[in-house]
Structures are given as structure tokens and as C-alpha cells.
Symmetry: C2
Subunit: 223 residues, 2 copies
């Protein structure tokens, strides 16, 4: 995909010490992505991460107060990165319809290439978003965390795409619902296609998820 050496800035409320500020911090982030992908979020622990990067559990806690906080950090990194790609894919596109199509493509496609410049593997991060992000926001602390801005980047992406929906059809009543349905839906479909295929109609190499959601959006708003 795009390979500009972009820099993604993360809200300081999402870490105790900025992991970008040191070698250890970057290792924590980069290895945690690999490990969460491999082990799943529940089996991933800071102790295991410490062993894997040859560092100490207590040092990791200096960067993130909990593994939940780390997951929230990763989710925000991902959505900031998507937001960057979204802006990139929609500026200078004259037609609103085309902008929307580019946006839906971006939100529903599988991330397949890692921008190997940064220490963050976007392919694995996309897999984590699909499999683990519900565990971040389906918590009893959601309201508190939301008030602190923990989910702002995600909400901003939805807002941006909703705005494009309204460009195409200013009278459409439910742009936010439509876009959040598409995002969550596409993630579910990717997961289901691997583990509960009878809930999908995915066929090898046919890109049905992207097609299905593009179609759905178009029909929903242009009628």
C-alpha cells in the first residue's frame, strides 16, 4: 500500500510513557502485536512479553498500565493509520461516489502488505482489530474510557465516511449506522469466513466481502 514515511501521533492519555520514545518502547509495541495475534488477547501476558523481548515485566508496566491499555493503544494506532489512508484515498477525488467507494474499499479490505518502514506490522494489526477489538470496548468501563477519548480515532473515521455518505445523498437518515455497520460487519465476515463459514458467502479469490458492502452501501443510500 502507501509507503510514505508517515508518523502517527497517539493521544498521551493512552500510555504512561510514550513507547515511541525508546527502543524498549518500540519493541514492546511491535512484539505485543505478534504475540497477541499468535496467542490471542486472553493468553497474552506482560510476563510472556517480557521474556520474549528479553526485558522485565515491571519495565513494560512503565509504558502501559495494563494489557487492556496496550490494546486500546494499538486500536487507536490502527484507526489513525486508517484515517490517514482514508484522507489519502479521498482527497482530490472529484466525484463523491468515487470517494465513497474508495472509503468502503479501505474499510472492508483485508490488509495484506506491511509497510515495513515502521516497527508496526499492519497486517497483523488488522488481524488483531478483527479478532480482539470488541474485547476492548465491550467492558463495564466503556463510559469512563470513552469520556477520556479512548475511542476518538475510531469515531472520527466513522464521522469522516458518514460525511461522504451525506455528500452522495444529503437526505440519508442513518449515515453513522450505515458506516459502523459496514466496518463491524466486514470484520465479522472476515472472522466468520475462517471460523464459521456458514455465516458468510465468502468464496476464494472473489473478494465478496468488499463487493457485498460496496453494493449494500450504494443501494442503501441511492434510492
Amino acid at each position: 500500500m502507501e509507503s510514505l514515511p508517515i508518523h502517527i501521533t497517539i493521544n498521551p492519555q493512552l500510555y504512561t510513557k510514550n513507547p515511541e520514545s525508546s527502543d524498549l518502547g518500540r519493541k514492546i509495541v511491535s512484539k505485543s502485536i505478534e504475540m497477541i495475534d499468535q496467542l490471542g488477547f486472553e493468553s497474552f501476558t506482560f510476563r510472556k512479553l517480557g521474556v520474549a523481548i528479553g526485558s522485565n515485566e515491571s519495565s513494560i508496566y512503565r509504558y502501559f498500565e495494563s494489557k487492556h491499555a496496550l490494546l486500546v493503544y494499538l486500536i487507536n494506532w490502527y484507526w489513525s493509520w486508517i484515517e490517514y489512508n482514508l484522507v489519502f484515498a479521498t482527497t482530490n477525488v472529484p466525484s463523491s461516489e468515487e470517494k465513497l467507494k474508495n472509503a468502503i474499499d479501505l474499510l472492508t479490505r483485508e490488509v495484506k502488505e506491511d509497510n515495513s518502514i515502521s516497527y508496526i506490522n499492519e497486517v497483523l494489526l488488522n488481524k488483531i482489530i478483527i479478532s480482539e477489538s470488541a474485547k476492548a470496548y465491550y467492558t463495564k468501563d466503556i463510559d469512563e474510557e470513552n469520556a477520556k477519548g479512548f475511542y476518538k480515532t475510531y469515531k472520527r473515521v466513522v464521522q469522516r465516511v458518514s460525511a461522504i455518505v451525506l455528500e452522495v445523498n444529503p437526505k440519508f437518515e442513518f449515515p453513522n449506522m450505515l458506516i459502523s455497520t459496514v466496518i463491524e460487519g466486514a470484520h465479522h465476515q472476515r472472522y466468520f469466513s475462517k471460523h464459521l463459514p456458514s455465516l458468510t458467502n465468502v468464496e476464494e479469490g472473489k473478494n465478496n466481502i468488499v463487493r457485498f458492502y460496496n453494493d449494500l452501501v450504494l443501494k442503501a443510500i441511492t434510492l
Copy 2:
């Protein structure tokens, strides 16, 4: 809602000892629903449940091998109950379009009345499905569990409604995707409307979730 004294049978693989077979078993199920709703799944423990029903932790383990198993049991109970309601809401309805509408209503509405005949509070159970069910199937053990039939009832509901979709439009390519998107989407929207409202367009008393998904389905398949 419907108030026939129905009996819902659960696949014996989903429990160690049938909770319906004893007073203690029924108390376990009924109190666990209250407690999971109140505490959230992660803070809910068998120890706390034991205290709450005046019984012993070890006795609960004779019915369910883990709290995860209990959650899977509840999810299956819920989908069996929905399946019953689905059959009820669609048999003897001559028009396929109307059948489909009834089905989408059922899948997207909020459950508001408890059928107080059984010891299971369907209002709370619906809330649990919305907030906690992703935690059941987003696990590393999904494939194993799926092979054991842990998610059969959910899949069956999707199949049944997909079949109605195909009655309305036999050429529609993605019935399973459409219906699983609607089910998961409606649940997300209910949760978002309470906690991340900017991701939705819910308005008090306007039933927008049900309207949105009915509209979406109709437009998706009849064009």
C-alpha cells in the same frame, strides 16, 4: 411477547450436568444471567455466584465446566428461543416479503418483556447477548468448539432467515452475509446507542435500528 409454555432443549454437549434437572441447576442459570448482566462477564465468577445463590462453588462446576461453558449455554438457549419465535412469526404468513419483515423485526428489536413462566429472564439475556456474546466466539478455541456444535443454534437461525431472503429473491448472492451482518449490526447499534452514540443515529422512541435494518435488507435484495 409470546407466552406459550415452551420448552427449550439444549444440546447435552453444552453442560456437564443438565441444569434443568434440578432446583440448584435452574438457580445457577437464572442467577448467572442476573449477575453477568450486572457485573459483566469478566467480573462474574462462580465463587460470587455460589455466594449469591447460597451454594458452593464446587457444586456449580458439576453443572458447567467453566464460566465460558456457561456463557455458551446461555447463548444457545437464547438462539433456540429466537428460533422458536422465528418459526412462530413466519409460519402461515403467505407472503415471503412479510415473513422476511417479521424475521428482521425479531432479530433487531430490543427484548422488553420477560416471559415470566420460565426461570430465564429474556430481557437480561438479550442484554447479555448484545454485550458479551462476542467474548464467547472470539476465542482461540473457536474451531474446536464449532466442531462440537457450540454455535449450531446461531447458525441455524441465520440459515432460516437466509432461506426467506432467497424466497424473496432467489438470485441474491449473499444471503448469509446479509443476515449475519444485520444480527451483529443490530446488536452493535444497541450497545453503541448507549455508550458510543456518535456511531449511531438512534433517536429516543423512533425505533431507528429496526427501521434501518428493514430498509437495508429490502433495498439490498430487491434491486
